[in-house]
C-alpha cells in the first residue's frame, strides 16, 4: 500500500516572513500598523490578550472579534521557534492515518514580497537550510518543495542555484532508500511574478527532464505582494515564454494581455503605500497564465492547488467584489481549472484549504466538487485521478484544526480518499516508496 500523503503543507515560521507580512490581511488597521501588530502577535501576552477578547466577543452574536481567535490559532503555529517544530505538528496529525505518512512542505521565497527591507526576516537560503535539516531527520516523511522566484535568480543561474537542492540528499537508514533533499518546485506567483516569466524557462526545462513536479498556488486570495511598486511588476504586455505557431498559446497570450489592460482601466493595478494589491495580485496567479507552460512543457507535472478556491467553486456572485471581478474576468477559476485539466493530462489539482468547506455535504461547494470528480478528460479518464489530498497546514488553522480536516475528508470523500491521499500523490511526486 502506498503511503498516506498530505501534498500541501507549510512549515515556515514568523522569522521567514517580512516584517510587514500582516499587510496581506485586508483589514485597514492591520495595513496601517503591520509591524506593531506583528510584534504584539509575536508575544505570548499579546496573543493571550487577543484570545481573551475573542472569548469575550464570542458571547455576543455577530461579533467579529471572535474571528481574531482564528488568526491567533494561525499565528500560534507561525511563532513556533523552529520550522522543525511546525513540521512535527503536521506530522503528528498525519501519523494517526499512517505511520509512514508523507508530508509535503512547500517553501516560499518571501524575500521579494515587500519593496521595503525587513529587519527581522531571515534570508530564503537560511529557511532552506532549516528545511534540509528536517529532511535529514525525517527522510521518508518530509518532502519539501523548493520555492522559486525569478527576481531571486533567473535562467541558467536559477538552475545552477537550484540543482544542488535536487541533486544532494540523504540515506534513510531503515529502508536503505535514498531521497533527494527537495522533491519538487513551488511557485507562489501572487508574491509578485508571472509563472510564464521567460526567466523561469530554463528551470521548467530542467524540471520536465528530471520529472520534478511543480506545485502552484491557485486562489484569488492568500499571501500576496505587499510592496509599493505593483505597477512595475505588471507591464501591459509582460514578457512570456514563447512558442511559435501554437494557437492555444496565442489565444492565452491575447487573453492575458487583455485582462491586464482591463485591470488597469478599472484602476485595480495601482501603486499603493498600504500594499492594497489584492486584485492586482490575482493577475499573477490566474490559471490561464499556466497555458504557455503546459503548451511548451507537455510532460511537466503541474498542480494548480486549491482548485481556484471555494469562492470560485461557489461561483454565484450577484453582487460584491467577486461579481465586479467577474465582469472583466470570466469564466471563474474553478471552471478554468476544470477545462484545463480536461485538456492537459499532466495537470493536477489538490483540495487543500478548499476542503475546509467540504463539511456540509449538501452544500454547493461539495456538490460541485463531486460532480467535477466524475468528469472526464480528453482521454476518457476521470478527473478524480489527478486530484490530491492536502490540508494547507497551517494556513487552515484559521478555519479548522488539522485533525478535524483529516477526519471530515475521510468521512465525506470515503470513495476517493485513498486515491487522493495515496495513489495520485505518488503519480505526482514520483518519490521512492
Amino acid at each position: 500500500m502506498l503511503p498516506f500523503t498530505n501534498i500541501h503543507t507549510h512549515v515556515f515560521t514568523s522569522s521567514c516572513v517580512p516584517d510587514r507580512f500582516l499587510m496581506i490581511l485586508p483589514v485597514g488597521v492591520v495595513r496601517r500598523f503591520p509591524n506593531k501588530i506583528k510584534s504584539v502577535l509575536d508575544s505570548k501576552l499579546g496573543r493571550w490578550l487577543i484570545r481573551w477578547l475573542a472569548d469575550w466577543g464570542e458571547e455576543k452574536k455577530n461579533n467579529r472579534r471572535k474571528e481574531f481567535d482564528k488568526y491567533v490559532a494561525f499565528v500560534d503555529v507561525a511563532v513556533q521557534s523552529t520550522q522543525l517544530e511546525v513540521f512535527q505538528r503536521a506530522f503528528e496529525a498525519g501519523k494517526i492515518y499512517d505511520h509512514a505518512v508523507r508530508i509535503v512542505g512547500l517553501t516560499m521565497n518571501m524575500d521579494h514580497m515587500d519593496s521595503l527591507p525587513s529587519q527581522n526576516q531571515i534570508s530564503f537560503e537560511t529557511q532552506l537550510e532549516e528545511v534540509k535539516d528536517i529532511k535529514r531527520y525525517y527522510p521518508a516523511n518530509f518532502f519539501p518543495f523548493l520555492g522559486i522566484d525569478p527576481r531571486h535568480k533567473s535562467g541558467v543561474d536559477l538552475v545552477s542555484w537550484a540543482r544542488p537542492y535536487f541533486e544532494t540528499g540523504v540515506l534513510h537508514k531503515d529502508t536503505g532508500r535514498v531521497f533527494p533533499f527537495f522533491s519538487g518546485i513551488k511557485l507562489y506567483p501572487a508574491l509578485g511574478f508571472f509563472p510564464f516569466d521567460p526567466r523561469l524557462e530554463e528551470l521548467y526545462k530542467y524540471a520536465e527532464k528530471n520529472q520534478l513536479p511543480v506545485m502552484t498556488h491557485c486562489t484569488r486570495v492568500g499571501t500576496q505582494y505587499i510592496g509599493t511598486k505593483i505597477e512595475s511588476l505588471i507591464p501591459e504586455s509582460p514578457a512570456m515564454i514563447s512558442i511559435a505557431n501554437n494557437n492555444n498559446f496565442a489565444k492565452a497570450r491575447n487573453s492575458i494581455n487583455a485582462r491586464i489592460s482591463k485591470f488597469y482601466e478599472k484602476g485595480w493595478v495601482k501603486n499603493s503605500d498600504r500594499g492594497e494589491n489584492d486584485r492586482a495580485c490575482d493577475l499573477f496567479g490566474h490559471p490561464e497564465n499556466y497555458v504557455p507552460l503546459l503548451e511548451k512543457f507537455p510532460n511537466l507535472k503541474l498542480c494548480l492547488a486549491h482548485m481556484g478556491g471555494s469562492n470560485e467553486i461557489l461561483d454565484a456572485p450577484n453582487k460584491g467584489e467577486l461579481a465586479e471581478i467577474r465582469e472583466v474576468d470570466t469564466p471563474g477559476w474553478f471552471e478554468r481549472v476544470t477545462s484545463m485539466m480536461k485538456e492537459y493530462p499532466n495537470l493536477y489539482t489538490d483540495i487543500s484549504y478548499t476542503l475546509s468547506d467540504f463539511e456540509d455535504t449538501t452544500g454547493v461547494v461539495f456538490q460541485r466538487f463531486t460532480s467535477f470528480l466524475v468528469e472526464q478528460d480528453r482521454n476518457g479518464r476521470p478527473l478524480s485521478e489527478r486530484v490530491m489530498f492536502g490540508t494547507d497546514f497551517f494556513m487552515t488553522e484559521m478555519e479548522k484544526r488539522e485533525a478535524e480536516l483529516y477526519f471530515n475528508t475521510q468521512r465525506n470523500l470515503r470513495r476517493w480518499f485513498d486515491d487522493f491521499a495515496r495513489i495520485n500523490p505518488q503519480k505526482f511526486l514520483m518519490q521512492p516508496v
Binding site: L2, S15, S81, T82, L84, I122, S123, E125, T126, E129, E130, K132, D133, R136, P164, E167, T168, G169, V170, L171, R177, V178, F179, P180, N210, Q211, Q426, L429, M430, Q431, P432, V433
Partner: protein
C-alpha cells in the same frame, strides 16, 4: 557640640542612605522585569544574530540558535532562549554549522524510474568521510565573500587550518564581542533604571526636597540615619566585588542592623503558596513539589526594602495627611499657608503644615523633588553605596580624635 558642617554632612549622608536603600528596590524591580521579559536572553540573541548576520550567504545566527547544543539550553516549556552562552560553546557550534553543511550535502543521482515505486536514487559517494577540518575548509571556500566569511577565512589561515586552534581564535573573538555587548546592555539598562526610578519615586512618594528639609529639621531622625549609614558602609566595604553587585547582599547590609522582630512587624511577610500550605499542614511537606518561586523571591525582597524603610522611619509613602493627598483636604479648610504656619509654630510640624497645604510653590517643589528622586534612584545601588562609603569616611576623618578613640576602645 555638633559643628554646622558636620550637620550638613549628616544630612547628605542620611539622604544618600535613603537613596542607597531605595536604589536596591529599583534594582530588584529591574531584575524582576528583565527576568519576566527575558530581556537578557533576547539581547544576547540579537547580539549573536548581528554578529553572524551574513546576507550574502545565510543567517548563521538563526542556524546557530537551531543547533542542538543551543536548543538544549532553551527552556522548552517557556520557549526561552539561553541567557548565557560560553565562548567554548560558541566556537564549537559555529564550526559545526559551517562544516556540517558540507558534510550533509551528499550528491545523489537518479538510477531509474519505475511506476508506482517512483524515481530511484543512489548516493554518488558510497562512504561519507568524517573529516571536520576538510568539510569546514570546503564549505568556507564555497561561501560567497562577505565580511563574516572574510573574518572566518582569516582565522582559518591564522590557525594553520586546524579547527582546534581555530576555536581559540573564535573564543577570543566572541569574548571580545561579548565585552562590548555587556556595555551595550548596561547602557540599555540605564534607560530602564530611569523609568523604574521614576516609578518608585512616584509609587513611594519620594520627594527629595522634602527629605532634605525633614533631615535638616529632625535631629533625631538624622542622627539615627547617620549612625545606620556608618554601619551600612562598614558592612558594604567588606563585601567582595561580585557581592557588591548582588541585590540580596546589599539588602543584607541593612537588614543585619534591624532586629528580626522589628522587620517582622514592618514587612507584610509575603509567602508562596507552598510555604503557606507547609506551615498549616506540615504533614504535606513531602508530598509537595518545590515550585517556581522566582516571583515570590522578588516580591519578598521588595517587601524587605519597604520594611527596612519603615523601620528606619524614612518619611516616604502616601498618606492623606501629607502632601500631595493632603492638598485636597487643606483646600476644604479654607486656610492660607501663612495662617496655618502661624497657628502651628516652627519646626517639622510647621514645615509640614505649609507643605501639606498645597500652595503653588509647594506644588512646584514637590514635582521638582519627585524628579530629583527619580533621576537619583536611576543611578543604581552600587553608585549610592560607593558614595555613602566615601561620605562616611569624610565624616570619620572630620571627627575629633577623642571620639575615634572612644569608639575604638
Amino acid at each position: 557640640m555638633v559643628l554646622p558642617d558636620n550637620n550638613v554632612l549628616d544630612i547628605i549622608i542620611s539622604l544618600v542612605l535613603i537613596y542607597a536603600l531605595l536604589s536596591i528596590l529599583v534594582s530588584i524591580l529591574l531584575e524582576w522585569y528583565n527576568q519576566k521579559t527575558r530581556a537578557r536572553a533576547k539581547f544576547l540573541r540579537n547580539a549573536i544574530f548581528q554578529l553572524l548576520k551574513d546576507p550574502l550567504n545565510v543567517h548563521y545566527g538563526e542556524l546557530f540558535y537551531n543547533h542542538y547544543l543551543i536548543e538544549g539550553l532553551k527552556n522548552r516549556e517557556l520557549k526561552t532562549v539561553p541567557q548565557y552562552i560560553s565562548s567554548q560553546l560558541f566556537s564549537e557550534v559555529l564550526i559545526d554549522i559551517i562544516a556540517n553543511r558540507k558534510l550533509h550535502d551528499n550528491p545523489v543521482k537518479i538510477t531509474g524510474h519505475s511506476g508506482d515505486v517512483g524515481k530511484q536514487y543512489e548516493m554518488v559517494n558510497d562512504r561519507i568521510e568524517l573529516d571536520i577540518n576538510k568539510h569546514f575548509e570546503e564549505e568556507l571556500n564555497s561561501l560567497n565573500p562577505s565580511p563574516l566569511t572574510d573574518t572566518l577565512r582569516s582565522f582559518w589561515q591564522k590557525s594553520g587550518k586546524d579547527t582546534t586552534k581555530l576555536k581559540d581564535h573564535l573564543k577570543f573573538w566572541f569574548d571580545d564581542y561579548m565585552d562590548r555587548v555587556s556595555g551595550w546592555y548596561k547602557k540599555g539598562q540605564q534607560k530602564k533604571l530611569l523609568w523604574i526610578g521614576f516609578l518608585v519615586a512616584i509609587a513611594l512618594n519620594v520627594d527629595s526636597l522634602h527629605l532634605l528639609k525633614i533631615l535638616s529639621l529632625d535631629d533625631a531622625l538624622r542622627n539615627q540615619l547617620a549612625a545606620t549609614a556608618e554601619n551600612v558602609a562598614d558592612h558594604y566595604q567588606v563585601l567582595s566585588e561580585a557581592e557588591k553587585m548582588n541585590n540580596s547582599k546589599l539588602l543584607e547590609t541593612f537588614s543585619k542592623l534591624i532586629p528580626d522582630s522589628v522587620l517582622r512587624d514592618t514587612t507584610t511577610g509575603i509567602k508562596d503558596l507552598r510555604t503557606i500550605v507547609v506551615e498549616n499542614y506540615p504533614q504535606l511537606k513531602d508530598q509537595l513539589k518545590p515550585n517556581d518561586s522566582v516571583d515570590i523571591k522578588y516580591m519578598q525582597r521588595a517587601d524587605s526594602v519597604l520594611g527596612i524603610a519603615n523601620a528606619l522611619n524614612i518619611p516616604i509613602g502616601w498618606d492623606e495627611n501629607s502632601a500631595p493627598l493632603s492638598w485636597k483636604w487643606c483646600l476644604c479648610w479654607g486656610l492660607t499657608p501663612k495662617q496655618t504656619f502661624v497657628a502651628r509654630g516652627d519646626g517639622v510640624l510647621g514645615y509640614n503644615q505649609i507643605r501639606n497645604f498645597g500652595s503653588p510653590k509647594s506644588k512646584f517643589f514637590y514635582v521638582l523633588g519627585i524628579l530629583i528622586s527619580g533621576i537619583s534612584l536611576s543611578f543604581g545601588a552600587p553608585f549610592w553605596f560607593d558614595t555613602l562609603v566615601k561620605l562616611v569616611n569624610i565624616r570619620r576623618a572630620g571627627k575629633k580624635p577623642e571620639a575615634v578613640n572612644e569608639t575604638t576602645k
